[in-house]
């Protein structure tokens, strides 16, 4: 079945030439010299006032990176990246870390206002309905503001830029950094380990339910720079945290590199909810410009009965290469992945997840919806594996794709590897899952066939979107009416 008109119109609204966040902020920046060398790595480390062990850690990563090759297995094509032509550090002049809001350059403040990200705590408190969100705003290579730090500290939650955490909580950072995504995990993760500049650090102490949503807003502004942020979230025993991430960049003719690493660690009975609305500049309709989004995101359910949920809405980036994964190490732990990826213009998306079942009675659920329009390519690539010891592991995967027009492509590459007879894996497509009973019920209530299908499938999509925290509801609303009728496998 072809896509219904409503869906086509909706997707058009978020087409590449409709990109709203393409403006540029003119501000004096301070950059590291162009290119990458040990000196640059030392320069970044020095800028961040890092201890010796951190500098060594970075240098080690850099040396290993030199011996690695860029991965080429993903279904994306792009011109070779000249790593010597990039700037690896760019910060608004005079800034090395967050200051108070009043000292912040008004231009930056304006930028975030324009993007709809509140940086003033008072403003946020005005609305009674709206729950508080603590924001860490990262502007190119530095974190420019972190809100609600004091209030969070009362609950014992540490929420700060990672560069600050390295100085203030070295014991925590040292213990967990690189423990989920090892330095040599892959080309881009290793590059990130060498040159990462900022990002967020979250530690939620045992038994604490984080009193508000935490969020980081990433903005690339400077030309020719790459953004390499690093996020580390640790939920100690029995704690809960919900974290949101948003990203935008100016409209430019050149491609910019974004290679982030996100590590999540959930200890016994802890739960981490990680949501992303990725809206990097996707390039124009001819495929000129746009962000190369090469991201390594991985969560480690280290403790018993821990839960990690990834939710992502992907509409931006010229190229997306990202596989938020869960290592289900603790017995009874659960991993979830909900994704909606929409590609337009000449965007290329190769995304999915990995659910690695190591512990007993671990469960995972993967729901992925890919929508391709224009001349884009949208690939779901996912791995579900059960280790020998993962008795009672359970996975359900559902990935649908929808094509709009005949110049785009939708691809599904699932890998299911089971080494345990008691592990139960199911991988299916929705189109075959609408039961005749449901259809019959709707139709005998007077709905046409198409309406009935739309109703049932939309109900299902809403399920995914409901996983998003309320703060993202507005953005998600735009997508809610996208019907997946006509979806294929």
């Amino acid at each position: 079945m072809p896509a219904v008109q409503e869906t086509i119109d909706r997707v058009k609204l978020i087409d590449v030439d409709q990109y709203k966040y393409g403006f540029e902020t003119t501000i004096e920046m301070e950059k590291a010299p162009k290119g990458l060398s040990e000196d640059i790595v030392r320069f970044i480390s020095k800028k961040k006032d890092e201890p010796e062990w951190m500098t060594e850690w970075r240098l080690d990563a850099y040396r290993r990176w030199l011996t690695m090759r860029e991965p080429r297995w993903a279904r994306v094509q792009y011109p070779p990246i000249d790593y010597d032509e990039l700037y690896y550090y760019a910060a608004p002049k005079g800034m090395t870390g967050p200051t108070s809001i009043d000292e912040l350059d008004p231009e930056i403040l304006k930028t975030y206002e324009k993007l709809g990200i509140p940086l003033r705590e008072v403003e946020m408190l005005e609305g009674i309905q709206r729950p508080n969100v603590a924001v860490d705003a990262v502007f190119d290579s530095v974190s420019v503001a972190t809100t609600f730090k004091a209030e969070l500290a009362k609950a014992g939650v540490i929420f700060m830029p990672i560069s600050e955490a390295i100085r203030e909580h070295p014991e925590l950072v040292r213990k967990y950094l690189g423990s989920v995504v090892p330095v040599t995990d892959n080309f881009f993760a290793t590059l990130n380990s060498a040159v990462f500049s900022d990002g967020s650090f979250v530690y939620v102490p045992p038994g604490v339910r984080c009193p508000m949503e935490l969020s980081t807003y990433f903005r690339i502004n400077e030309r020719n720079t790459g953004q390499f942020e690093r996020t580390l979230i640790i939920a100690d025993k029995g704690s809960y945290v919900s974290y949101l991430e948003g990203c935008t960049a100016p409209r430019r003719d050149e491609n910019q590199l974004h290679a982030a690493v996100v590590e999540l660690i959930a200890l016994d009975d802890a739960e981490i909810k990680y949501s992303t609305v990725q809206n990097w500049y996707p390039g124009d309709s001819e495929g000129k410009g746009g962000i190369f989004n090469f991201v390594t995101k991985r969560g480690d359910c280290r403790g018993r009965n821990s839960v990690i949920t990834w939710t992502q809405v992907e509409t931006g980036s010229a190229i997306t290469w990202k596989y938020p994964s869960c290592i289900l190490r603790g017995d009874g732990s659960r991993g979830e992945f909900y994704s909606i990826a929409i590609s337009n213009g000449r965007q290329q998306v190769d995304s999915g997840t990995k659910m690695i079942h190591l512990g007993k009675n671990t469960t995972s659920r993967v729901i992925s919806k890919g929508i391709a329009a224009g001349k884009s390519d949208n690939t779901y690539r996912g791995l579900v594996s059960a280790h020998r010891r993962a008795t009672g592991a359970r996975n359900f995967t559902n990935c649908d794709s929808l094509l709009i027009g005949n110049q785009c492509g939708a691809h599904t590459v699932p890998y299911l590897e089971s080494n345990n007879s008691t592990a139960v894996f199911e991988h299916e497509a929705t189109t075959s899952k609408i039961s005749e009973d449901q259809m019959f019920y709707c139709m005998q209530r007077g709905l046409g066939e198409e309406e009935a299908v739309a109703l049932i499938v939309n109900g299902f999509v809403k399920d995914v979107l409901q996983q998003l925290p309320m703060e993202f509801a507005v953005e998600a609303q735009k997508l809610i009416s996208i019907s997946l009728e006509g979806s294929v496998g």
């Binding site: 599904t412 699932p414 007879s421 199911e426 496998g489």
Partner: protein, 439 residues
């Protein structure tokens, strides 16, 4: 990853040497073989870093290249005949191929229906048979290393032509038997050209004794004309120590009905590759399989279905039962080309793991470039349902019997698509035999 200089494995070196020593004696156009060998030599044996061979690392599995088998003498043929058990009770026209060479003595060629042309591939190659132009008709197979090796070494097999409009009632049985005590390799090629409006059932059986480390590499190629109908059943009952590589290619014209099923119970390591291309509209293809694995068996089923034209339907159903420490692999890929609108593709792979150390790797892949299509894929993997077992046992069935019944039902779904009743029953017998040997 730094650049690694690839060392040639002993098997790769061995294959190159074998080719040098054999190339003078192999029939037909040498340049085709040389091109294929050059292609193979460039890339070597596929290993796990090559996506299509991710789960079947031939570089590790094929340690040594065995010499190619000589044409067997009459004493050897008599021994070989004892190993040929599959489909024997069935009325069929038979062509027997022993150790990769056609054995006319053991064939019932007289039984071939009027009009059906059968020639040995050896002769066909030597004389330049008119139909040889159809070899390699499916482009996707050509770069495949297993197929390339077959092209380089193919020594015998058959060329079969079913003339336009001929409905062949009796199945044609291609009986492959391996026999001997020393390790050897074979490379056979069968070309079946089914002309417009013709219909035929082709059976293939591959057998050999346990303890014989043979390395067969068999290719069967179907070229199916418009409105033709083909049923193909393949049974791999090789001995326990065989490393069996096989490829099926099919190029389907318009309004064709093509069914193929591969049942695997034998061989230590097997890999069956299927490449189907729709070249005409309104055709239907079924690609099924049942893999019965135990011990340390390793069975790989790799399918590539290419919907190059609109309005075609394909169904793939694979059932894998894995016991002991065996490994099952299913890699299916459906490609829907940009203009192939109204394609209907459905792929499913179900696996039952009967023992704790069993492994299943599933990779049902879709690659879609057309927007008005229905494509689905499913994969499941797990143990026998406790509730079902309980139900049967509460009705008084012993555990072993209850299990067998459920397994029969599970495998039956794949086998039941075989319409020829006698052939269907023969396959059910294979399943039952396998289940009986379990206890």
């Amino acid at each position: 990853m730094a650049d690694i200089t690839i060392m040639k494995t002993p098997a790769e070196t061995g294959l190159a040497q074998l080719f040098e020593s054999l190339k003078g004696s192999l029939p037909g156009d040498l340049s085709v073989r040389e091109t294929a060998m050059a292609g193979f030599a460039e890339r070597g044996l596929p290993h796990r870093r090559i996506e299509e061979f991710k789960y079947t690392d031939l570089r590790a599995l094929l340690r040594e290249a065995a010499p190619f088998a000589e044409k067997p003498g009459s004493a050897e043929l008599a021994v070989a005949f004892n190993h040929a058990k599959a489909f024997t009770g069935l009325a069929a026209a038979r062509l027997t191929i022993v150790n990769g060479h056609v054995a006319t003595e053991l064939s019932e060629a007289t039984a071939f229906p009027a009009g059906v042309e059968v020639a040995s591939m050896n002769e066909a190659l030597a004389r330049g048979h008119a139909l040889l132009g159809w070899l390699g008709a499916v482009e996707a197979a050509r770069g495949n290393p297993v197929y390339e090796l077959n092209t380089a070494f193919m020594a015998d097999g058959a060329v079969i032509r079913i003339p336009a409009g001929t409905a062949v009632e009796q199945p044609l049985h291609l009986r492959f038997v391996n026999s001997g005590s020393q390790a050897f390799a074979t490379a056979t090629r069968v070309l079946v050209v089914v002309e417009e409006g013709a219909s035929v059932t082709v059976l293939e059986s591959h057998e050999g004794p346990d303890g014989l480390a043979c390395q067969p590499n068999d290719v069967i190629e179907f070229v199916v004309g418009d409105r033709a109908r083909v049923r193909h059943v393949r049974l791999n009952a090789e001995g326990r120590d065989a490393l069996a590589l096989s490829t099926l290619t099919a190029r389907l014209g318009a309004e064709v009905s093509f069914n193929t099923i591969n049942v695997v119970s034998g061989a230590q390591v097997s890999r069956h590759q299927v490449f189907v291309t729709f070249a005409g509209e309104n055709s239907t293809a079924r690609i099924d399989g049942a893999n019965l694995l135990r011990g340390r068996q390793h069975a790989d089923a790799t399918l590539l279905v290419d919907h190059a034209v609109p309005h075609c339907t394909s169904r793939e159903l694979y059932k894998t039962v894995i016991d002991d420490e065996a490994t099952g692999i299913f890699q299916g890929k459906i490609i829907v080309r940009p203009d192939a609108q109204k394609t209907d593709g459905g792929m499913k792979s179900d696996a039952l793991l009967l023992s704790e150390r069993a492994t299943m790797n599933n990779k049902p892949e879709l690659e879609i470039f057309a927007d008005d299509v229905v494509c689905g894929h499913g994969a499941t993997c797990g143990a026998l349902d406790e509730d079902l077992l309980f139900y049967l046992r509460s009705r008084g069935l012993p555990a072993a019997e209850a299990e067998s019944l459920l397994l029969q039902a599970f495998l039956g779904q794949a086998v039941e698509t075989v319409e020829n009743e006698a052939v269907h029953d023969a396959l059910v017998e294979v399943v039952e035999g396998w289940l009986q040997a379990r206890h």
